[in-house]
Symmetry: C2
Subunit: 530 residues, 2 copies
């Protein structure tokens, strides 16, 4: 049996565009004489459609799009995800179409409602496993979470004689997830002695990134086909003949780098922006963001602005110029000194002689934010925020200042990982000057400032943050891992009290098992202290 | 039987404070010789605890707090909500304590997972109804949604002989909700011929407001006791003897006004702010916000700043001064002209001779945002944003400009309702000058500007917005209600494309069945066009 894995990049809400793309690939699959072509979970609507699902017209339009796909599926079988309305309830569903006719509709049985998932908000659970006959083969149907559940539909389907299992997904990326999927798929294939066909989405949708990595295991649990990560692909696999030797997924740094490129590119392009803009400070975060933007979009679509203050070191200017030159991006310069002085002058009577403090630091960051937003307004460029996860955790960032922007590329990248990615990138092509990497991180908002004036070293901060944010560990548990207890308490307190800032932060691509997005729902008003 | 209704205002995460408050009221109930005192759903943790529930230590601490409450409950019975961990699962639970001993733990059977609710993210559903014996009475237990479900636990409990039914709640406010609850309670009491005791929270928690309105129906479906809305109260009711004649809930305007006061006051105070600050423009939104702030917090805790530009009319200044004077709030003045000119001067080479457009308007709004944030930083005052729901819907507001702030008081108040509230308020006490109410709304960001240059009249916009946002109606359905189809299309397009702004907006109190908060989860990247 020849199966096409349709690893596509749909856009949420684009029913016409998504169905047109699916129909194109069906035509290609027919031309390649495939028996069956398989597309991801909810590929017709894009994933996650969120509250579009509450609009009755959207559901009806999705049904029409499905019928159009079905009519186009002459001469082969197609399996794809859509939203099914049945007796007043909605189902996360998939249609098995054969030669233009919808033969079976499967309803997802296991609805994830944790982490970034809210499927029980919209869907009712299915309660029926499905086996279809196709070209003399018995094929078992299922969707995403169904394969992770211990008591999924597949056991019953195999019992009914299914020897090919289809599992379609909208499985969001986090580092190493593809290897978890592969291990599970192999285990399931071996256990049930059936071929397992796993098809996933690819692309960015707001904060979510889908990495694809569609694959097929034979009944002995051996990988016999695999799609690349982060790339649209229509891959054909002959279940009886194909073999795959020594398949390797991407290494960690490249995987994360590609995830960042995907999330950034799709946010920019799917939202109709031609060009982007960022403030280049001479520090490592904006340097890495610039490198990512130039690679994701092409250097001609990227604008960088250097906005020096009276505290900006000559080295910052030199380093900013060097990284812009390395990437071939033109660097504009807008000084903030005059306007800063203007504000302070006007505010003098209101400040009533109080000493300079964080106010003056934040004000400088906000002037920069205003310049970026003014250029964004004037030219239609999307502003990229350049802050990292360590800052976003501890609130070491200015609301409406360096946090300003439409997309925060490094929002889920801890500072230590920023360095790791910069070093990895430099090995491929030396774009980020060593001076930037070696220099102590500084916001340059007052004389002689460094991040470590107020934060623990990032090598200490990051693992504490990760244990608290990504693993829900208590301060006592983190200290028991060997960290200094007062430092842990300080970091935890900073994270807790920065919730109000995160609530107003731009979205950014999710790379870890828990980002500051849909999978982080902490109250702002919160008196809990451990 | 004498029952105390403990309509309290807990704070999320404040396990020590909440349990201390509960114990105080238990002592008071004992002193009043009550047989039983009933507290709201999850009153120990506050509602909603959100992802605090994912912290194992938080669950353990909540269990300890419950045990402390139980020990204090000597000589009477207590029913209250807490989180129960049982065999690895979490339950939205309630404990029935009698004379210091936990006699029964009930698990909520119907978990809401729609609108603002995410209970299936955290909790497993209970599957057992509970009847306890207390002072010779059989009492049936249940929590919140259990009473709304057609097949709730109460039917079984009444079958087992329960003649008093307890229903504890964390039921968020929206306009008129208390009347819906009352009608349901009467219907249930009559149907089951049992006394129904309904206890609800009061207070603000981020975007949610709880209005209380706890009440008791006798077995003939007659209201025999009711607590005020929006006020902590420990109300005692004698089931056999008490009667209540001609009870009336608040009228619409007062109900909304009190909801706004509650949401604002609790956000400010529970987050530890002593004082607040807002920009007073001479328009109606900031005037109403100032009136609310002065009443919620006391005028001495409220700071107002007038920030004129070259486009500010003399009338604006006069009106701003008048409303500040009426409310007894001191009005500072910070002109934005100089800094605006400074920005334009610096930006001139970058703007390359392009004509003035929205950029210059947004820039003025952002300068004001910066001044407010600078004062906030310097003095620790919380900035209140003053925009309304009509603006938040259509994107007629500036990100980091007039949208800047910690709490957006009128975020869920459409412009027509702003006027309605101002007129209602003036009848009690004339604080908002008639000139403000009569004048055409304007952002004063360019000469001769009014809102209606780009928006339909608010009498047209608001009902279209409400049909689209609050009722999920399609553009065609709204036009069929009698609205001009191109106008509907324009409003819908404005709402759709402003999602990115709303994602970075501050929280504000929810007053309608659908606010731009937890109950509005639309993707930013979204190609759906009807």
């Amino acid at each position: 049996m020849k199966i096409g894995l349709g690893q596509i990049n749909p856009t949420v809400g684009d029913l016409a565009g998504n169905s047109a793309r699916i129909i194109d690939l069906i035509d290609e699959a027919r031309h390649e004489k495939a028996d069956l072509v398989v597309f991801p979970e909810l590929c017709l609507t894009g994933y996650p459609p969120e509250d579009l699902l509450l609009k009755p017209k959207f559901i009806a339009d999705n049904q029409s799009a499905l019928e159009q796909v079905a009519r186009a599926a002459r001469g082969l079988a197609v399996f794809l995800g859509f939203v099914h309305q049945d007796k007043g309830a909605l189902y996360n569903a998939a249609a098995f179409i054969d030669d233009g006719v919808i033969k079976e509709i499967y309803h997802k049985m296991h609805l994830p409602n944790y982490g970034v998932f809210d499927e029980k908000r919209y869907f009712r659970e299915g309660n029926k496993s499905s086996v279809v006959d196709c070209r003399g083969q018995k094929i078992g149907l299922g969707i995403c979470e169904d394969i992770w559940a211990e008591k999924g539909p597949y056991e019953e389907e195999v019992g009914l004689g299914a020897d090919v299992i289809l599992n379609i997904n909208a499985s969001p990326y986090h580092l190493g997830k593809v290897r978890e999927r592969e291990a599970l798929l192999k285990q399931r294939a071996e256990k049930y002695q059936a071929a397992f066909v796993y098809v996933n989405l690819v692309g960015g949708q707001d904060e979510l990134v889908f990495d694809g990595g569609s694959m097929v295991c034979d009944p002995r649990g051996r990988l016999i086909a695999a799609c690349d990560q982060f790339r649209e692909e229509l891959l054909f696999v002959d279940l009886e003949r194909d073999r795959l030797e020594n398949w390797r997924w991407l290494e960690a740094e490249e995987e994360i780098y590609r995830a960042l490129l995907t999330g950034l590119r799709d946010y920019v392009l799917k939202n109709g922006f031609g060009q982007v803009l960022l403030g280049l400070s001479g520090g490592i975060d904006s340097a890495l963001t610039l490198a990512l933007a130039a690679e994701a979009l092409g250097k001609e679509r990227v604008h960088a602005v250097f906005m020096p203050s009276q505290y900006t070191a000559e080295q910052s200017y030199r380093d900013a110029r060097a990284v812009a030159a390395n990437l071939g991006v033109e660097l504009a310069e807008i000084p903030i000194k005059e306007v800063f002085a203007g504000y302070l002058n006007v505010l003098q009577p209101n400040f009533m002689g109080r000493p300079a403090d964080l106010t003056e630091e934040n004000l400088q960051a906000r002037i920069r934010g205003n310049y970026l937003m003014a250029l964004s307004n004037k030219f239609g460029w999307l502003v990229l925020a350049t802050g990292n996860k360590s800052e976003m955790s501890t609130g070491y960032c200015t609301l409406y200042g360096d946090m300003a922007g439409g997309f925060a590329v490094l929002k889920d990248v801890p500072k230590t990982l920023v360095y790791q990615l910069a070093n990895w990138l430099n090995k491929k092509r030396p774009v980020i000057p060593e001076a930037i990497i070696k220099r102590a991180p500084t916001a340059e908002l007052k004389p002689g400032q460094t991040d470590q004036d107020v934060l623990p070293p990032y090598e200490v901060l990051d693992p504490i943050m990760q244990a608290y944010v990504e693993e829900n560990k208590s301060a006592a548990e983190i200290a028991a891992l060997g960290f200094d207890a007062p430092t842990v308490a300080r970091v935890v307190a900073l994270i807790d009290r920065s919730e109000y800032k995160r609530r107003q932060a731009p979205p950014g691509p999710r790379l870890t098992p828990r980002a500051f997005g849909k999978d982080w729902r902490l109250p702002i008003t919160n008196h809990y202290k451990e």
